[in-house]
Amino acid sequence: MIAIINYGVGNLKSIRKAVEKFDKTILTSNPEIINEAEGIILPGVGAFKPAMDNLKKFKAIIKNAEVPVLGICLGMQLFADVSEEGGINEGLGIIEGRVVRFPKEVGKIPHMGWNEVEFSYSNSHSEDSLLIFRGIENRYFYFVHSYYYKTKEEYVIGWTEYGIRFPSAIMKDNFIGVQFHPEKSGKNGLKLIKNFVELCKSY
């Protein structure tokens, strides 16, 4: 069973429907259910600060999770130490990094639409870290965001170009974050979600 944490932000329908294609899925704000899940998804649409406020009671559960955790868009950004969105706000501190706004020079903000993800793994990861991308042919995913996650190269498993080259997928231990929306990325996105579910089953 995969638990999608419902902490009162955004529309969770699409992500739930997408995960349901592959496994039993519960949209929940009950810490006990989250604790029993085989995998956790931290979704996110909206602003950083209210999301962190709403997430308070789940903070420990997420940080101490021993099953795979997938953070999507804002859900990924919440893994950072701090975010500059709406002032300086502290994040969960799971994967070393800072969330910053795209510089004006990149062009239109938000970065909205389909962009390519270049899969990559550094020495600190094994090739297994790319399991989440297994079987994905073309590399387009759907993005909509104005801030991006600055982190060390060793945590990056996907890069994307939008005026600058930024981390669009990151990983550390059992935590995986994607800046794009797999639940809006057609076949590629569904494949990634399927890979995540399989990862949870075999973890």
């Binding site: 529309n11 699409s14 938000p110 387009y140 170009e161 639940e183 809006k184 057609g186």
Partner: protein
């Protein structure tokens, strides 16, 4: 690099059989060519980057039906979905987003009450608020602020029109575009009435001007008749996305043909 987007638009209405896509189509191997959900799935398979549903009934009963269509689509189609037509309140927006729409498109009610754009973008986030701007060339140069040179050398300003183009507002479209960006719109869906339905191509002068004036994505709409028009929209009009309805509905052009055509000419698309 970010790909240019191709967006089919489905005009959805009610008839005696229930909810239908207005413009008739001859789809092969499609169970129900008039069912917007089936069509949405088909367009997704053909490579559509996003979908737009436009509710042209815009009655109370139509609204309920639209919510049902959005819910059924969201269960089966995993690309972004925008819904527009007759949206008047924050409650309307909330119910469409809850049903599974990713964005809503506001047109007449934004002109009548610009604060709805600000409120909606603060509540739901700019990324899900699209402002649709319908405009028409006006050759009375004393009345407009932004005089634009047309392809044939004449000059005009573009006036915002509402109620499906029936009512001129006196508002300059370039000024209005800048204003909605300021209010928090995340995207602009621009339709020129001078081109809508003509198959002569997008209205390039206004598309280019607005795309250069604002820092949010612009979707060109109205007038596509052939493949070159998409190229012109992106390259000359500087649009971030190109929308079309009838050429796709009538199978005159397929989405894949558009993308192959653009790719060969160096426009980045998702194939």
């Amino acid at each position: 690099m970010l790909a240019k987007r191709i967006i089919p638009c489905l005009d959805v209405t009610l008839d005696e059989r229930g909810v239908r896509v207005v413009k008739g189509v001859e789809f092969v191997n499609l169970r129900d060519a008039g069912d917007p959900v089936e069509l949405a799935k088909r367009y997704d398979e053909e490579g559509a980057d996003e979908l737009v549903f436009l509710d042209i009934t815009a009655s109370a009963h139509g609204r309920e039906t639209m919510i049902d269509v959005v819910e059924r689509t969201a269960e089966e189609v995993f690309i972004p979905l925008t819904v527009g037509g007759g949206i008047k309140s924050i409650a309307d927006i909330a119910s469409l987003l809850n049903a599974g729409a990713d964005k809503v498109s506001i047109n007449t009610s934004a002109v009548k009450n610009p604060e709805i754009v600000r409120d909606a973008s603060q509540i739901f986030g700019s990324q899900c608020i699209v402002v649709a701007i319908d405009c028409r060339r006006n050759f009375d140069l004393n009345k407009g602020k932004n005089i634009i040179r047309l392809e044939d050398g004449r000059e005009a300003w573009y006036e915002v029109v509402i109620y499906g183009g029936r009512k001129p507002t006196g508002i300059d479209a370039v000024e209005w575009a800048k204003k909605v960006e300021e209010l928090g719109a995340g995207e602009i869906l621009l339709t020129s009435m001078n081109r809508d339905g003509t198959k002569e191509g997008y209205d390039i002068p206004i598309t280019k001007r607005i795309s250069e004036e604002v820092n949010i994505p612009v979707i060109a709409s109205g007038g596509v008749g052939k493949l070159e028009h998409f190229y012109e929209g992106f390259v000359h009009g500087k649009a971030d996305a190109c929308l079309a309805a009838s050429v796709f509905h009538f199978r005159e052009i397929t989405i894949m043909e558009v993308k192959e055509y653009l790719r060969k000419r160096g426009v980045k698309v998702r194939i």
